[in-house]
């Protein structure tokens, strides 16, 4: 057992613990959460239809993970991100990616040294076709637009994934959850979808 290192400002609310199996400090993120680490921690998440970008500065070992999905499109259902570029889905997805990248850069990362890995987007919620694919398609579009290459990806398919990410080394362990009960993952994702669809995450405006 070691002391849990201090979290970067803004990530104090994330569930962090000593992982007895991996013998490492860990941070577990839920749908809609982010975590960035400077301390060689392990970042853990479980993905159904959601997608996670694991991004780190491969020179400095600073990195983190997001975990999100796009809100449903009630406007034109075109998936051409570029031409339908101000839909609530695009704006939310952009924010989820940019927020993670900005926090890594603020923690000392350099854009030119970023390494990106992408996971998730399974077809887990059976009554909602291809939303996993849609989340992955968005992340691929976004990264291409920003000139960031994907160095590893495991996405799609019908099983949820447990992802363990080590931002200091870039190592990732992905386990497909074929046999465990997935009710918790599904109900957590459904709750999250309901939230982002009914309460759009529009930022505050303040005039000085």
């Amino acid at each position: 057992m070691t002391n849990i290192p201090t979290a970067i400002a803004g990530f104090e609310h994330i569930n962090r613990y000593w992982d007895r199996n991996m013998h490492v400090n860990a941070a577990k993120i839920l749908p809609g959460e982010f975590y960035v680490s400077l301390h060689g921690e392990m970042i853990v998440t479980v993905l159904g239809s959601c997608v996670s970008a694991c991004i780190r500065d491969k020179v400095r070992g600073v990195g983190g993970m997001n975990h999100f999905m796009l809100p449903m499109q009630n406007e034109h259902s075109s998936e051409q991100w570029g031409s339908n570029s101000v839909s609530s889905a695009s704006r939310y997805g952009n924010w989820a990616m940019e927020y993670l990248i900005n926090e890594i850069l603020k923690a000392g990362g350099k854009r030119e040294d970023l390494e990106v890995k992408v996971f998730g987007g399974g077809q887990v919620l059976s009554n909602m076709t291809d939303i996993g694919q849609r989340n992955v398609a968005f992340v691929k579009y976004y990264l291409a637009k920003e000139g960031l290459k994907i160095s590893a990806m495991d996405a799609g398919g019908m099983y949820p994934r447990k992802v363990l990410y080590f931002p200091d080394t870039g190592a990732v362990k992905v386990r497909k959850l074929k046999s465990t009960r997935n009710d918790t993952i599904i109900s957590r994702e459904k709750e999250y979808i309901k939230d982002i669809n009914t309460q759009p995450k529009d930022g505050a405006v303040e005039l000085f």
Binding site: S90, R111, E146, D202, F208
Partner: protein, 119 residues
């Protein structure tokens, strides 16, 4: 035509912001960091500057300070559009001379209403 300088290091964010502003009838010039924005601002007069905060080369707060030091940008509205919602960063922006602070993800109607209000 009202001319807006939109500054953001993210290409997809610039695209979304431009799309929104052009759709509302504004003329938009894009810049990818504070330094490039400053060069543009010296070349032509903008009626409003909409800038990100965290950017390489020159960040948004420095850009505001540099613009406010120019006689023709002393009173030009400068809005910050950022993922930053922390109070101290916002205070820094206010002290540098920014007109307002919008937190991403932006709502297009809200962005346009704010621009109208400060122009």
């Amino acid at each position: 035509m009202t001319k807006i300088l939109a500054v953001d290091d993210s290409a997809s964010m610039r695209q979304m912001v431009s799309f929104t502003l052009k759709g509302a009838g504004y003329e938009v010039v894009e810049a990818a960091d504070g330094k490039l924005a400053l060069e543009q601002a010296k070349k032509q007069q903008f009626d409003l500057v909409l800038s990100d905060v965290n950017m390489p080369v020159m960040d948004g707060i420095t850009l505001v300070k540099e613009l406010r030091a120019l006689s023709n940008y002393k009173f030009t509205p400068i809005l910050m559009l950022t993922t930053e919602s922390a109070g101290d960063k916002k205070m820094e922006g206010k002290q540098a001379g920014a007109t307002g602070w919008l937190v991403k993800p932006f709502n297009p109607d809200q962005l346009l209403a704010t621009i109208k209000k400060v122009l």
